[in-house]
Symmetry: C2
Subunit: 253 residues, 2 copies
């Protein structure tokens, strides 16, 4: 038998969380590399935007789920900002709306995108697993699962610069979603990191926090796996969006 | 506006259900074709058995979930048999135990298989989506989602004959799981088919039944997509089983 694992200091826990990101965040996925290197086809970018819409659309549901579980009003005030960022304050505002500007520009009708009828089962199952995780695990684990945002400013810089350089069908306007995210993600991930460092007081709690971040990395990774299989390797599952199909030509330009 | 869709006769509903299977069941997936044609490597067969263990292991959980939602004692008596088939009556009995004989024969330790630590996130998310579907949808939809069993005797015949013909590392003993399944699946799917034909009395209910079967086909399909991506295309996600890794060499031969 090995001796029981020692409780980590807050700094050690942060180092391990950052190490998890360095090993498992989806900036390491071949689909991300392909996308920002300019190797993706127009149809692959379409498929990425269409599928990722579902992830974006479910983020406020996920955050509201966490809100239902927060006993502390100060925590809730802070966490509520995430919902406001995604849902906006008025018609035409918010992160989801900005994501729809991207899918508009790629020729999808809003009705089709919002229906999510063309997304991959792998996308749906991964995103639903994330919401379910935040519903059923401890509040500490639910908050820890948001910590992929520690790593998102870097991937967004790389993605936006790469996509603007390589694809004439994207512009700063159509990528407006990403212009807001680094500042929001930094603010949100600082709150979440402080929370888990303060509240993961036992080694079991710390291990649960690390496992929650691994889980969330797998949620993001699995979405890119599904995109690669369907649209790079061209094995589209039955019922999912087919490049060039009618459903893309709705009310959008 | 089109006129409202007419209610289908019971026979028409059955025809559409069988049509859904003919178009979406995972016997059409390239991983299945590769497996039964003898093109899979030993490592691919290992990965298939390891991942599918999680599906097998969660079937009684899924069926118990449905049992919690059945008000009719006669329905419950019938549905309970599914749990008995998978869990067995005694130590060493039941479908899960027979599946473990397969993973034993492929060099995995039981502890490793049962821990499910090496399975693909895509497997986990798909299987959990299935259990969650049966927990949150109507009882009619939950029962309808089991109807892939209408199509399983044919795929089992094809799989077992193909695997015995092509792989010297499988035998009738190691494939014992499948020897019991066709009879059980026929009995179970006849019950479920009768149930949905009797209880889907509106067109909306019938459409929900058809959508539930499509959903379940996508649960099976997504599992084979994940296997192909990781082990045929050789892009194993972080944390999943790596062919040849230590974890396969446990207490089994």
């Amino acid at each position: 038998m090995s001796s029981p694992k020692p409780v980590l200091t807050r700094e050690e826990l942060e180092v391990r969380l950052r190490q998890t990101g360095a090993e498992r965040y989806h900036n390491l996925h071949r689909f991300h590399r392909r996308l920002h290197n300019g190797q993706s086809t127009y149809e692959e970018v379409q498929a990425w935007a269409l599928n990722r819409y579902y992830y974006q659309a479910m983020i406020p549901i996920k955050d509201a789920t966490i809100l239902t579980r927060m006993p502390d009003v100060r925590d809730r005030r802070h966490w509520r900002i995430r919902i406001e960022d995604h849902d906006g304050r008025d018609e035409g505002d918010g992160g989801i709306e900005r994501w729809l500007k991207l899918t508009d520009s790629l020729g999808f009708s809003r009705d089709y995108v919002i229906s999510t009828q063309g997304i991959l089962p792998g996308t749906r199952f991964a995103v639903e697993a994330y919401v379910e995780f935040c519903r059923t695990r401890t509040l500490l684990e639910a908050i820890a699962s948001s910590l992929t945002e520690l790593f998102s400013p870097a991937i967004i810089d790389e993605r936006v610069a790469g996509m603007l350089a390589h694809y004439d069908f994207v512009s700063k306007d159509t990528l407006a979603y990403f212009s807001q995210r680094p500042v929001q993600a930094k603010r949100d991930s600082e709150f979440a990191l402080d929370y888990v460092k303060q509240n993961a007081a036992t080694r079991a709690g710390q291990d649960a926090v690390l496992a929650a971040l691994e889980f969330k990395c797998s949620v993001l990774w699995a979405q890119l796996d599904a995109l690669w299989s369907a649209y790079v390797d061209r094995a589209v599952p039955p019922g999912a969006w087919m490049p060039g199909s009618e459903a893309t030509h709705g009310q959008a330009a």
